[in-house]
Symmetry: none
Subunit: 356 residues, 2 copies
């Protein structure tokens, strides 16, 4: 079976990334979005051609927000736009329930969920390797045609992801544990910063930053996800609350030895839990070397720095701007291939930059 | 006042990093550790000379674990090893209490805490730029000699950090909020993975990974820190538990609309709290408009783009590079004042850029 054409419905972060990945694998890709400007941007980024295909494609992938997924699937199925249909919604039971309510023909639909993403939305953040080495869960129904599963599996593999088959229930319970619960915790932790002393927040370190990164996520999206996966999420959240409450009670009682014992036990369990996570994936940017440049906070500094870096013939792969609160200087970190970091550092110093 | 010599007591991650930073700033640095092999490694790394100085140095910095900090300070003070004394313990009240119990002379001691670090320990992880652009809290007592504060401030500045003055109480409360509480939450979340379905853990994404990264931290260290800062930590933890319990009760009740409302509210508060954090892409959190530009991945593209943007008279407030390793194109997002986004978009298009 050759599967080489797809329709992506919804060109946000995930849909556009799928388009980019499939195009890189040589597929023909069509892109539609309720907002034509987003489909145009995705097309310009190389994710495919904007517009409905003239004839049915092999597979249609709906990458709409969860609450619109079933309707978009029903519409695509009703239009006969593809041979097989899939989606990317992060809760699978609800999509099936909605599809059945809409009376859609679900025999050619195979639920899917790429477990990849970012805290941001929209096509601009898309990347052809968003799924590389990541799991992509498929939730075929017990009576599903093997051909349809194979078609969606081909799409997943073309995106560089690893297909993982689960039941709908298994998927939703697993996601509550590794995605939905962490999201609520990140949001609650970040929300707590609103009550913190104003002078406390500026001294936050990388640990807290990393923990609340996903707190920047979309409220509407997560309201939908939580409501659609309430039971497993309620259970997981209760477990976490119990674990925290045990330590809180010791802290409030104030006996140092008892606090130490409780915190030590929590940390040891945390060490073990953390170690269960599989190795890092897709950390390409972490393989770059860093050149840190202390700059004054004036317009044009960044441009001049990059011009000077370009003059050295060094390609800056990525950069990070660290503003220092209340200070006229900041640090710009330039990420470059490890072999050229020393060259760049020396060259920038010769040009008067404070490069480290 | 010229301050150019230091003794570092305790050559772990922090002490060695201080040595490296001070050496880079031209200081004379002496290094001691209860484990001479660690001091030797730190010396080999270029952090200073192993051994007690022959004559008193300007400042002695104790970078021992919190529970040993007061004793190490008392010993250094008793030996008259320096003119001024400081430390790096992440809880300040406890160090003072311990020092007073030990009967040490605290008149020349200025408490300090570099808010920087990593989940790893030991000199090998040390870096001369660990403190670059980071806050370093100083907690002088009300009757502290200005000279001693100035000496420690000089050390902080030589390390590239930004001195922030707080009272002891303010420091401990702030750290509970931005460091100690997040640590317990990361550990509790990671500990929960021990109870998760075996098939759930392998599909964990970057969000969870980032959230539990610091769960790899040292149990003994954190047992000490929590016990030494029990009151603010108990209060902060209770606040978080309350926040999570509110959502948990809605989830358990199972009415979708009520769940959505509670989760939406939590996420919105989390969005706001997260945006208060300084640093990485802080500008993006403000109300800037975004202009997305699709670029080819060649040296100098970013610089040329910024030069062109500057030629339009538009000040680029911040930018984000979406770099895709192995692909010939990327997206650069320029953050500008909302009023000029359209102007910039048009001007860039006229200059041949694919701007959206």
């Amino acid at each position: 079976m050759t599967v080489t054409s797809a329709l992506v419905v919804g060109t946000g972060l995930i849909g556009t990334s799928v388009g980019l990945a499939l195009r890189a694998a040589g597929w023909t890709v069509h892109l539609v979005d309720v907002d034509p400007a987003r489909a145009a941007l995705a097309a310009d980024m190389g994710a495919g051609a904007a517009g409905i295909p003239d004839s049915p494609v092999d597979v249609a992938l709906v990458a709409a927000p969860p609450r619109h997924t079933a309707a978009a699937l029903a519409q695509a199925i009703g239009g006969g736009l593809a041979g097989t249909y899939t989606d990317v919604a992060s809760v699978k039971e609800q999509v099936l329930t909605d599809l059945r309510e809409l009376g859609g023909d679900i025999t050619r639909y195979v639920g899917g969920h790429p477990v990849a993403g970012r805290e941001r939305t929209g096509p601009a953040g898309a990347s052809h390797d968003l799924f590389t080495g990541r799991p992509w869960v498929l939730t075929p129904l017990p009576d599903q045609r093997a051909d349809d599963v194979a078609v969606v599996r081909a799409l997943v593999v073309a995106c560089g992801a690893s297909p993982v088959v689960m039941t709908v229930e298994e998927h939703d319970r697993a996601l509550a544990a590794v995605s939905h619960l962490p999201q609520l915790v990140a949001s609650a932790l970040a929300a707590g910063l609103l009550d913190a002393d104003p002078q406390a927040v500026p001294i936050a370190g990388q640990g807290l930053r990393d923990m609340v990164r996903i707190a920047a996520s979309d409220p509407e999206l997560w309201a939908d996800i939580a409501a659609a996966n309430a039971d497993p999420l309620a259970a997981g959240l209760q477990g976490l609350i119990d674990r925290l409450a045990q330590v809180q009670q010791r802290l409030a009682a104030g006996d140092p030895a008892t606090v130490q014992e409780a915190v030590r036990r929590l940390l040891i369990a945390g060490n073990e839990g953390q170690a269960r996570l599989p190795g890092k994936h897709g950390g390409a940017s972490r393989d770059f070397a860093t050149v840190a440049v202390v700059v004054s906070d004036q317009p044009g500094q960044l441009a001049r720095l990059l011009v000077d870096a370009g003059d050295c013939g060094v390609n800056v792969e990525d950069l990070r701007v660290e503003h220092t609160p209340g200070r006229p200087t900041g640090v710009i970190e330039l990420f470059v291939e490890p072999g050229v970091a020393d060259t760049l550092r020396t060259a920038l110093r010769e040009r008067g930059w404070s490069a480290h």
